[in-house]
């Protein structure tokens, strides 16, 4: 008889026990008793082993990772609410292209801070977008909301120096841009995807403040504190639990991940990392969890960089159509801006500000100017992004 059998036996006991631990807050005497009986049995069964092995049971190689986000006690309703709130805000802001629609800035600010009496929501929400936005930039978004409301009363066409609408040559789409050719709704929507959703997921929920927490006490319906934080991070991605097999009902980030997936394969990479990290947490395998955190941060950053390149390609290609140019550049700027909000970002703010200033004369999101942009500039930033974010091989395709 050797010690390996004993080690294995202990591992199984610990595994059984850990799993039991996850199920309930209340002590389970039956479990303890069965463990005792099994242990006494074991004492007799394996009573003569030699001594050289290191007997340190490590419970991290024996659990399954499910193929969908179908774990016990998953809850991220707060995140789902915020995605829905952002959708409502975007719809309202986009309705302002109509000459008949003028937005009330107080309503927009009320939506942002969820002052529900003045927000005029269709749904019922208890959460807030503003207080989860990266604090130093909250005021910038309020400035943009003010601008959005101010230009919503414009009824004419855009010209340099005059806010107004731009319509695609084929007549299929109309956008509302400010006097510098920037479409504020894109900066607000995609910018908050970065400064709120992406920030909360990659920097807050996957950060040490929310990950170095209890992982033993199970709250019914929410799991352990650590499990719950992980789930909340996943909630901000906006994907169904069986993503990417199922690509229906995608919100925000999941939608843009899917847009570029053909060339990046980010859908599966990101989803697998979320699944692995959650399984690791439920099995108290923190080393694997830490690897999953790194993967989520890196892949999600790649999603944003790829989306930016995608829109820069559209802008270069459709450059002569003013509506296409301004709309896609506004999207690209916001995806580049978003790159700042990841605690594991691979490029620093100075580099990111450099891309923004090259495209829009300034890195200040409230003061972008697209009136002097050229195809050469667009392609130079695209190429720099592709190199910096390891997307060079697919930059023409995105």
């Amino acid at each position: 008889m050797n010690c390996e059998i004993l080690i294995y036996f202990c591992k199984v006991l610990i595994r059984l026990n850990l799993n039991k631990n996850k199920k309930s807050k209340s002590p389970d005497m039956f479990n303890l008793k069965s463990v005792l009986i099994l242990s006494i049995g074991a004492m007799f069964a394996f009573s003569s082993c030699s001594s050289d092995d290191e007997v340190i049971p490590t419970p991290d190689d024996s659990y399954d990772v499910p193929v969908t986000y179908n774990f016990d006690n998953v809850s991220y309703s707060g995140q789902t609410q915020r995605l829905a709130m952002m959708s409502e805000m975007s719809s309202l802001m986009k309705s302002a292209v109509s000459p008949d629609v003028t937005l009330d800035v107080n309503q927009l600010l009320a939506m942002y801070a969820n002052d529900s009496d003045n927000a005029g929501w269709t749904g019922i929400y208890s959460k807030q977008l503003k207080n989860k936005t990266f604090e130093p930039v909250q005021a910038d978004f309020e400035t943009l909301l003010n601008e959005m409301a101010a230009i919503s009363s414009a009824t004419g066409e855009y010209a340099v120096g005059t806010a107004g609408t731009v319509t695609k040559a084929d007549g299929s789409k109309t956008y509302l841009v400010n006097e510098k050719g920037v479409e504020p709704v894109q900066l607000i929507e995609k910018g908050l995807m970065g400064a709120c959703f992406y920030y909360q997921a990659t920097s807050v929920y996957l950060g040490s403040g929310k990950m170095d927490v209890d992982n033993t006490i199970v709250e019914e319906g929410e799991g352990t504190e650590m499990e719950h934080h992980w789930d909340e991070g996943f909630g901000y991605f906006g994907a169904p639990i069986d993503f990417p097999t199922n690509t229906d009902g995608l919100f925000f980030w999941a939608k843009y991940s899917n847009t570029c997936n053909e060339y990046t394969d980010n859908n599966k990479e990101l989803m697998d990392a979320f699944l692995l990290g959650r399984a690791a947490i439920s099995n108290d395998d923190l080393a694997t969890r830490d690897n999953a955190i790194t993967t989520v941060r890196n892949v999600w950053e790649n999603v944003s960089a790829a989306a930016a390149i995608h829109y820069l390609n559209d802008a270069a290609e459709g450059f002569d159509d003013v509506a296409v140019r301004l709309h896609t550049l506004s999207e690209a700027l916001a995806f580049i801006y978003s790159l700042k909000f990841n605690d594991g970002k691979t490029q620093n703010n100075d580099t990111i500000d450099g891309y923004l200033s090259t495209l829009a004369t300034t890195s200040d999101i409230t003061a972008f100017d697209l009136t002097n942009i050229t195809v050469e500039t667009i392609l130079s930033v695209r190429d720099a992004l592709a190199l910096d974010f390891d997307l060079d091989a697919v930059k023409e395709n995105l």
């Binding site: 010690c3 004993l6 202990c10 006991l13 610990i14 026990n17 850990l18 039991k20 631990n21 002590p27 389970d28 479990n31 303890l32 463990v35 005792l36 242990s39 074991a42 004492m43 394996f46 009573s47 003569s48 082993c49 030699s50 001594s51 290191e54 007997v55 049971p57 707060g78 959460k127 990266f134 604090e135 130093p136 930039v137 920030y199 920097s203 403040g209 929310k210 927490v213 504190e225 719950h228 934080h229 909340e232 700042k340 909000f341 990841n342 605690d343 970002k345 620093n348 703010n349």
Partner: protein, 367 residues
């Protein structure tokens, strides 16, 4: 608990099945500190460090209060200059009282009322409009940061005009009265029954005086690292620099205040400010007990690292808000050296002394 029982069982299986192996010591030994040494230490802190710091701060706050009265009754450039100087003196004195955030200081929520920065401009405007409410807390609308803004933002004539508005005037007087009454109460408690119970409160339990000292020393150091350096420099905020959140932004005192807070932290550790020599302190305690970190004396290690970050701080010029934008390398070195010191102060020292760290620096707000 159950995991523990399983481990015990596994260990016992190992034992019964003669699976022997070299065992690491289960726990290191906790040092014994004589009662008399403890009370002498606490007495020293009370009489030589804590009460003098509060006495100075009380006196300087009272001078500031009468200077403010004088200015508001006779608004002039000269009187403004006087009150600005009195403000600076009082703010610097406060830095030496700030570390001792337990007992009466905690009862009075003295940090909240004296020095929650940066000022929240919206809440300050509300407090000016609606009247100062001494019961409201966590609003970042009061204390030195409010005066820093009101006494220093703008040209002299703009400041004088703003300060003499009746609602601002009322606010300022209420704010300084609130500060005075709270700090007087803290000083009195230290001179009275709290001081006596502090000296007698020996042992290592949570809430015992040694635990209060070790905890508040760490807590204060972390506020220096986080609030005075980490947040404005962007090190803790994804690289977004926020120079305007430094302490004393409007009076341009940020560097002086940071140096004072580091000096106050050192005084707490070494048991003296400047010249005083014969003393008892955390440092002397670690030395007397010959506590180790690795193979080195913990006291020596901490002493060496304190000098390292003090040197980095000395390398900074001008104001902290300037430095976080233009002297980023020095700021980064400063922050890194402070982070290294936290490992010694918050992990190695409490472990060696067998004292628990009980304060929570960042409450979680999950939803």
């Amino acid at each position: 608990m159950r995991l523990f029982s399983v481990l015990v069982i596994c260990v016992s299986i190992g034992f019964f099945s003669s699976c022997s192996s070299d065992e690491a010591p289960i726990s290191s030994l906790c040092p014994t500190i004589d009662e008399a040494d403890q009370t002498a230490l606490f007495e020293f802190y009370k009489d030589e460090l804590i009460i003098p710091a509060y006495t100075q701060a009380v006196s300087d706050v009272q001078v500031l209060k009468s200077g403010l009265d004088n200015f508001l009754n006779n608004p002039s450039t000269d009187n403004l200059l006087d009150v600005q100087n009195q403000f600076k003196t009082a703010y610097l004195s406060w830095e030496y009282a700030e570390p001792f955030y337990f007992g009466p200081a905690e009862d009075q929520l003295i940090e909240d009322h004296f020095n929650y920065f940066p000022i929240d401009m919206e809440n300050l405007q509300l407090a000016i409009q609606n009247g100062f409410d001494s019961d409201l807390t966590e609003k970042y609308d009061r204390g030195f940061p409010a005066m820093d803004y009101l006494l220093f933002n703008g040209s002299e004539s703009e400041i004088i005009e703003a300060l003499t508005q009746s609602d601002v005037r009322t606010y300022l007087l209420a704010n300084i009265e609130n500060m005075e009454s709270r700090i007087v109460a803290v000083e009195e408690a230290w001179r009275g029954s709290f001081g006596a119970s502090f000296v007698a409160n020996t042992g290592k339990a949570d809430g015992a005086s040694l635990s209060q000292i070790i905890n508040t020393y760490n807590r204060h150091f972390e506020t220096i690292k986080r609030n005075r350096i980490g947040l404005p420099s962007g090190i803790l905020t994804l690289g977004f620099k926020q120079p305007q959140v430094v302490e004393g932004f409007y009076s341009a005192m940020s560097l002086e205040l940071a140096k004072a807070s580091v000096a106050a932290s050192s005084a707490y550790f070494y048991g003296h400010v400047g010249g005083t020599d014969a003393h008892r302190s955390i440092y002397s305690l670690l030395n007397d007990l010959e506590l180790l970190s690795g193979n080195e004396r913990l006291a020596d290690k901490m002493d060496a690292e304190i000098k390292v970050f003090a040197n980095h701080l000395d390398d900074i010029n001008g104001t902290l808000d300037y430095a976080v934008e233009f002297e980023t390398e020095t700021i980064n070195e400063l922050y890194q050296s402070m982070s290294g010191f936290v490992v010694l102060a918050k992990t190695d020292m409490p472990t060696a002394l067998c004292i628990s760290i009980t304060y929570v620096d960042n409450p979680s707000d999950s939803d």
